[in-house]
Symmetry: C3
Subunit: 203 residues, 3 copies
């Protein structure tokens, strides 16, 4: 079940990468690259820093194929504004929730410090989108947007805390996933956001 | 022979990095950094994701010295427009062809899935140039340009397929190299390109 | 002592990351991310390329906590222009000097080639700031600025050379640290800089 959610999240993130490529008028290869880095960038950095190499998509290439296919399909899907406006944000929230939980659990299974496991969850959820934006020449949206990374932080924290105090991982997984999803959907629905740090340097 | 082509490709990529630095008015250190990351960036990411660490230039520092030297020489070379206009694109095509083949073979030698080996070939060929452009504050050219990455994809695919069906690696190497080179040179000569995915979001 | 200087450098680099986030009006999470990547980015790339994984902050999470705390404190500190104008550049020079020496020594302790150890020192010192600038959508300052990376290069070189010819590491450490610090402070004081490579391509 979690594996399927993971694949679902991969596809959804790939769609968001491909759409960003479309906004920048990239060519077919650009669409593929943006789709793939958005989908697997977070998990890649997680595995690299944890030393869990080769990284997950080298071991299980289905992630790459899925992300590429989702990127290509997006070129057609992009014409349906309904899908983008309604479906994509919700699917993206589900992908984010899944990724932050999976990232945290993968780190925990490697025996790292709990605070590092939380960080790995957040990184898995948001880093792909950050690379996507950097490749598009923009300041990453996640550094500016309404409670996106914060939802990943909540989900990863809930997962890690429950995994440490409860026997078994199932409850921690679902509680983490649902809490991240709930916060992200609430942020979308009511436009919640973190305070902005405005600082005009005189340098 | 392949080792010498690899060094040649490294030097050529370093030149293209240094020229990009010149267009951005970077200082001497900036020229060196751009030269080096363009030359070794692709192979570095390949080795990191494959878990083949320490990465290749830590084991064999000649790559670093060569890229640095090529970057410095470029400051003088840059005055010769003829070199840039005529020689550089062709040399760059040869570097690309070499890198995609070497990347694919290095991945194969580590026993990964064939589709991953193809990806590693493409990554070795194009990722250095992507970092170069990101450091210069631009959307990577390779995501927009005429059949650049596609040539790497062709070369890596030919190499991997032939390496799997034929005994010995020599024929796979040369066929991969020549097919990538031919497609890239054809793309330069006749301005061939992939279709662009134009998508104006209403968000 | 070196460990404390390392923590000091981490905090100072985090402050510079958070200030950059403030100039870009990022939200609270953006401030944290910029603070953390600036503080630990260089050491992370060093450890990744050396294959010394999991990277240092996975093993010792105090770096992450310190960088996050320094980033948050900065939001208040930012109001004191005196701190920024006078204290920060000098503290940053000390951080840079410490990082380049620590990076070089860590590489040496893993038995790499001396030229690679020097590069690792420079990378540890400057790469965090480069990621900071890329995330802010700017061409990295370090590629353009007055003798910043060059100070790291001097410090790392002095450290590596002395570590190879002298018994014990203490003298190499302090000589490297002081030489990098001296050059950086001199560059700030007298506005010293490297020549710029200006090249207007006709492409």
């Amino acid at each position: 079940m979690i594996y399927w959610l993971d694949l679902f999240g991969t596809a959804v993130f790939a769609v968001s990468g491909a759409l960003a490529a479309g906004r920048k008028n990239l060519d077919l290869f650009g669409v593929l690259v943006l789709a793939v880095v958005t989908a697997i960038g977070g998990g890649t950095l997680r595995d690299l820093t944890l030393g869990a190499t080769p990284v997950f998509w080298v071991t299980d290439p289905v992630y790459l194929w899925l992300a590429s296919a989702a990127g290509l399909v997006t070129i057609y899907l992009a014409r349906h504004d309904f899908l983008q406006r309604r479906f994509l944000p919700i699917a993206d929230a589900l992908g984010l929730a899944t990724f932050c939980v999976i990232g945290a659990e993968r780190a925990l299974s490697l025996g790292v410090n709990p605070s590092i496991a939380v960080l790995m969850g957040v990184m898995t959820g948001v880093f792909g989108g950050m690379i996507r934006d950097v490749l598009c020449g923009e300041v990453p949206l996640v550094l500016r947007r309404e409670l996106y990374a914060t939802a990943a932080l909540l989900g990863a924290t809930v997962t890690v805390v429950l995994a440490l105090v409860l026997p078994g991982i199932a409850l921690a997984t679902w509680a983490g996933l649902l809490s991240a999803l709930a916060l992200r959907l609430a942020a979308i629905r009511w436009n919640l956001s973190l305070p902005v740090f405005v600082h005009h340097s005189r340098h």
